[in-house]
């Protein structure tokens, strides 16, 4: 006993170092992300003389929020959810209906305008409730079966918003959505608004910088909360269920409620993101929440590093850049590249050749596919994998040696 205890004391410092090193990687990533987040609007506004890139960042932001939420379900609890966009839709419509003229033309004949700051939490609760409702009958299913049911849910929800057109406007979408307002706002050179000024009774009104600040704060809050959960009783229960559901139940974990919590909490982040989306785009239509959105977020989570919060954030940012910035810009860039290297001859269309720009346009999805396949081949564990996968890959060999040595000592 005492021998084991002293061995434990001797053995721990090195291992705690290892833990610290890996934790440091997360700290470093968070540090870089914070600095980039602060500098991004100033630098891009100065460099490009416009806020187009900041607008892009606000859109990337809600994908980050969605990825953080889906990571709770898929990465922590190991439940494959293919209909995550449904909760996003529920969050967005909750805000859109309660903060626009929409309900005036509905059977209620009375428009509702509640402030964004309250509706943000209403959307959160609506999405979480939807998560629990969906979860209840399905969580006894496992693996693939669960994935199929969530897939179905993801298909049903946009259809509901589409078909309940008396209330939701259906295909006409909900427009003229209220903008968040604040009693005081600060503007200055950093947001390209000239000298430092206080603005009273500020309306976001499509101001990309204001939305950018809002989403950065929302993400920061989400990261802190999810981190807390990850290192808690509930976080361990999720991981235990992911690893071995039977053993988890035998250890006293109520697997049904624990999985429901994963679904509900994961969904609540997309409710948050939905309210933000509704406000920032000011137009919510059923087409914005199709299957492709669920898959895009899932790709972000898997490519970034399932189970690891920093990885998922990076994954969302990288994939957003690829899907919504690089690939749409590809035809233009291909043309200018061809012109610059003296291949200007292939640019115009002639005969069967549709022209370089058109051809690249047609190849968009092939290029996207190649990028996905390539990334998964190069880094199957994700860009920044969780400690679990990384340590497993990195140290399996080392520890094998260790145990051999230990066994030799023991016998």
């Amino acid at each position: 006993m005492s021998q084991a205890a002293t061995a434990g004391r001797r053995g721990s410092p090195r291992r705690f170092n290892l833990r610290e090193r890996i934790r440091d990687r997360d700290t470093a990533v968070y540090g870089v992300l914070i600095i980039v987040a602060i500098l991004f609007p100033m630098v891009t506004i100065y460099a490009t003389d416009g806020t187009a890139l900041v607008s892009h960042a606000t859109r990337a932001g809600y994908f980050v929020l969605l990825a953080i939420g889906l990571n709770v379900v898929v990465g922590f609890a190991g439940l494959l959810d293919l209909g995550y966009a449904a909760f996003f839709a529920i969050g967005a419509y909750s805000y859109a209906l309660l903060a626009s003229p929409q309900l005036e033309s509905s059977p209620a004949h009375h428009a509702v305008h509640i402030t964004f700051w309250i509706l943000m939490f209403v959307s959160l609760l609506a999405a979480a409730a939807a998560g629990a409702v969906l979860g209840f009958p399905t969580l006894r299913l496992r693996g693939d079966y669960l994935a199929i049911v969530t897939l179905g849910f993801g298909e049903i929800v946009p259809q509901l918003f589409y078909n309940f057109d008396q209330w939701t406007g259906g295909i006409n979408a909900v427009g003229l959505i209220d903008q968040p307002r604040l009693p005081v706002w600060v503007q200055g050179p950093w947001s390209g608004d000239g000298p430092f000024t206080f603005v009273r009774d500020f309306s976001f009104n499509g101001d990309p910088v204001a939305y950018y600040v809002l989403i950065v704060i929302l993400i920061a809050v989400a990261v802190i909360l999810v981190n807390n959960l990850y290192r808690s009783r509930l976080g361990r229960a999720w991981m235990a269920i992911r690893e071995d559901e039977v053993a988890a139940a035998a250890m006293g974990i109520n697997t049904v409620t624990t999985k429901l919590l994963a679904f509900g909490i994961g969904a609540s982040f997309s409710g948050f993101a939905g309210a933000y989306y509704g406000a920032s785009v000011s137009l919510v239509s059923p087409d914005s929440f199709l299957f492709i959105v669920s898959i895009t977020v899932l790709v972000m989570v898997v490519l970034g590093g399932m189970g690891n919060i920093t990885g998922v954030i990076i994954g969302a940012l990288v994939m957003y850049t690829v899907i919504f910035y690089l690939i749409p810009g590809l035809p233009e860039n291909a043309v200018s590249l061809a012109n610059n290297v003296g291949l200007g001859g292939i640019v115009p269309a002639s005969g069967d050749w549709p022209g370089l720009a058109e051809e690249t346009q047609r190849l968009n999805f092939i290029i996207y596919g190649i990028i996905l396949v390539g990334m998964m081949l190069l880094r199957p564990q994700g860009i920044l994998p969780s400690r679990v996968r990384e340590q497993e890959l990195k140290h399996a060999a080392v520890q094998e040696e260790e145990t051999v040595v230990e066994q030799a000592h023991a016998s």
Binding site: S12, R19, L225, R231, G252
Partner: protein, 259 residues
Amino acid sequence: MSEPAADNILELTDLTKRFGGLVAVDNVSLNIKRGEVFALIGPNGAGKTTLFNNVTGLFKPTSGRVLFDGRDITGFKPHQVARRGIARTFQNIRLFDYMSCLDNVRVGRHVRMKAKVWDSLFKLPRERKEEERVTEEAMELLRFVGIAKHANQYARNLAYGQQRRLEIARALATDPKLLLLDEPAAGFTPQEKVELMQLVKKILGRGITVFLIEHDMKVVMGISERIVVLDHGEKIAEGPPDEVRKDVRVIEAYLGKSA
């Protein structure tokens, strides 16, 4: 049945489990006294693990009753059984492979923790305190089974014997009154078997009753006070090790009928 219920930690009454036409456990009744080591033996396929699964709620008995600590727990869900105070290990080790040893044990503590979602979300002081306490308790258990120095390693990376010990530590973390060990000495070297027997005695010293399935007769004879023998789901013998060893039906079950 002559003893009052309070002396028995576990009472099985006419427990039967059928899978379609197959009767895996056939009308088995047995009583386990508080504070003893009780062994369940029998040839492969005799229904030993099925009996464990019926007690711990993984299966629902077809008929019969399971009384634990004077309360009927027949048909309880696994987590409810664990909460009542029955913990178990598995025949083919079922650890949380990609969680650290410390976390494996802390998961075992889950059922005795109080932190709610809000406490964890906002890291309230009482949640922090509970986490600290649980971490210490978990480390104590790792020391108890002798693998404290591996606390931060993934369960998967432990040697086989250490994994069995970790599984026991995880089960102990649930604060059980009754510990079910499913072939704890399987695949052990003679030295490891001796260490296991010492560990079982230490567990008894904590006031925990031990109910084990084991094939190794040396281990069974060495630590258990009473033995039940199962064959084709039926109880064929019960008693202290020396008597059971001489029982004709037991010898037949293991060695086949002699002429």
